[in-house]
Symmetry: C2
Subunit: 126 residues, 2 copies
C-alpha cells in the first residue's frame, strides 16, 4: 500500500514517504508522550519562548516540581525536548524534528481521509 511520494506536505522533517513507512510503535511513542495536558502545555511554552527555561516551567504548569520534572523526563525520553545541563539549571528546548513522523502520519490521514465521502462513512460495508 502506497509507499508513494504522495503530496502530503512540505513541512520540515516530514518525509514524503507513504504512511506505510512508519512504525506503529514509533508513532505511538510520540503520541503517548504528548498524551497529557501538562506535557502539551510544556511543548507549547517551549514553542512560545524558544529560549530555554528552567524552573519557570514549574510555575507555568501548576504542578509540583517533582511532577513537572517527571513530565520533562518523559518528553526527553521521547526525544521531543532536549535538556542542556547548565548547573544548577537545565535549559530545555523543543526538538521539532522529533514530531515529524507523527505530523506526517496525521497529515497523511487528513488528506487521504477526507477523500472518503460522508456517505461512505455511513453506508459502505464489506
Amino acid at each position: 500500500m502506497s509507499v508513494a511520494s504522495t503530496t502530503s506536505s512540505r513541512l520540515p522533517g516530514v518525509t514524503t514517504l507513504g504512511v506505510g513507512s512508519m512504525d506503529d510503535a514509533v508513532l505511538a511513542r510520540i503520541a503517548k508522550a504528548l498524551g497529557h495536558p501538562a506535557r502539551i502545555h510544556i511543548v507549547r511554552v517551549l514553542l512560545e519562548r524558544q529560549t530555554c527555561i528552567g524552573c519557570d516551567l514549574v510555575d507555568e504548569v501548576g504542578l509540583a516540581q517533582s511532577t513537572v520534572s517527571e513530565h520533562l523526563r518523559i518528553l526527553k525520553a521521547a526525544g521531543i525536548i532536549t535538556g542542556e545541563i547548565r548547573r544548577p539549571r537545565v535549559c530545555y528546548a523543543l526538538n521539532p524534528a522529533s514530531l515529524g513522523p507523527l505530523a506526517g502520519f496525521l497529515n497523511f490521514a487528513l488528506v487521504h481521509g477526507v477523500a472518503a465521502p460522508l456517505e461512505q462513512q455511513l453506508e459502505r460495508h464489506g
Copy 2:
C-alpha cells in the same frame, strides 16, 4: 504570541489559527488516544481500506477480541473513528477531521520550531 494566521498549511481540517487557540486538554486527549501501537495500527488499517471493517480488525491486530473492542472504544470516545452498527457487524471508519487539531499543532511546532537555536540541539548530547 498566539493567535496569528501564520502559514501553517492548507490541509483540510487544519485551522489556520495560531497554536494558542487550541486547548491543552483537547490536544492531549487526541494524542493519548493515539498513544498505543494497536490503536495506531487500527487507524492505519482504516486508512488503507477506507471501507469499514468489522472483525477483520481483530485479525489485523493480534489481540483478543475484547481487547480490540476496548481499543476501538477508546478511539471512538476520542472521536477518531466512527462505528456504524449493522448487526451483527459494526462498520468502522476513520473520522479524519478529528485529527485536525493535533495535526495543526504539530505542523505549527514543526514550522516554528526549526527557528530554535541550533547549538542547543547539538550541545545537548552529554
